[in-house]
Subunit: 198 residues, 2 copies
């Protein structure tokens, strides 16, 4: 059954990027500090991770049928050049289709009618697999809409001191979680998985 999962590399103080889009070299150090190579859709960008992180990533890749990303993440990655680095289709939640991009291909799709429609589109692409939410704004929105089943925190030992938080100030809450239902230690990352209590 499809689960909606939200995940990110997060600093100890809760940020998914530091001030002025800084800090990625720390947040994503664990993608490059191990000796297990995981090929990606971009031959120039393999991951080099520790064995525990490799098992964690492989399971995530196997289980995920589609991502939903926000426009900000799409813009800073330039849409991964049209195909997500992990070879998983993605749906972009946006106000408008950016210039020069088709509305929908085999590998991506723009949805301009809101988060619930974006998640529905991702569910159609995911089949029996999971839908993964990336990016702070949509994760918080989806949590408040009761749409998030699991949260994957890749907790990184750095204090960024500011930036974009994984979770935005919420209208409602608190939201209780169960777990960690899984805890895996990599090199400069602790992979923690929680279930959202419904």
């Amino acid at each position: 059954m499809t689960k909606i999962t939200a995940g990110a590399s997060v600093s100890i103080d809760g940020y998914i990027s530091g001030p002025d889009e800084s800090g990625f070299e720390h947040l994503f150090a664990w993608y490059g500090n191990g000796d297990i190579t995981i090929e990606t859709a971009d031959p120039d960008l393999p991951l080099n991770v520790t064995e525990p992180s490799a098992a964690h990533i492989r399971a995530m890749i196997d289980d995920t049928g589609c991502f939903v990303v926000g426009r900000h993440l799409f813009d800073i990655t330039n849409g991964w050049g049209g195909k997500h680095t992990l070879g998983i289709p993605y749906v972009v939640l946006t106000h408008s289709v950016p210039d020069g991009w088709e509305r929908s291909t085999e590998w991506y799709e723009f949805v301009t009618t809101g988060l619930e429609d974006a998640i529905a589109a991702a569910r159609r692409r995911a089949g029996d697999k999971n839908v993964g939410l990336n990016g702070g704004t949509i994760v918080s929105q989806a949590l408040e809409a009761g749409l998030v089943d699991e949260i994957d925190v890749d907790l990184v030992p750095v204090i960024l001191g500011g930036g974009r938080p994984f979770f935005r100030p919420l209208e409602h809450g608190p939201y209780l979680l169960e777990g960690p239902i899984s805890s895996v230690q990599g090199n400069r990352v602790t992979h923690l998985r929680y279930r959202v209590r419904k």
Copy 2:
């Protein structure tokens, strides 16, 4: 040798209290959801924790010679009635000594001349033991002053959606940590200890 440690029960989104001082029943649930009783200085307030959390707390109590707390924490606990619940002396960093309190006793002391003096006073009381910093503002201040050696995060599976963050927006940074050098799973808490890279 005395280490300066900073610790708190922290939500997944980084808060040490929720909006309008809410959320403590979630942040401190782990103080009461186990079957090991730890007596405190207040006979009406024993802790009831799991065995892993009990070992974690006992080691912290044994290793800590003095706390430094901010005025906010002092006020909301009413200074623990003049003696900290864990039976450990504390130094309060404040602008002025509150009415009705002596400046200094066997169990507490007010310091009005800044954080460095407060930590120096706590070091004198701590002897060879550690100084523990509690409260968001002084932890962030001490981190920026290069005075924090270790950070203890008691990570609680709840998203509070707002409130007082453990780490405030910082002037400088990022601050890299080492670890977790210790990771202990309790009931509704993950005790994570990090060393601050100097």
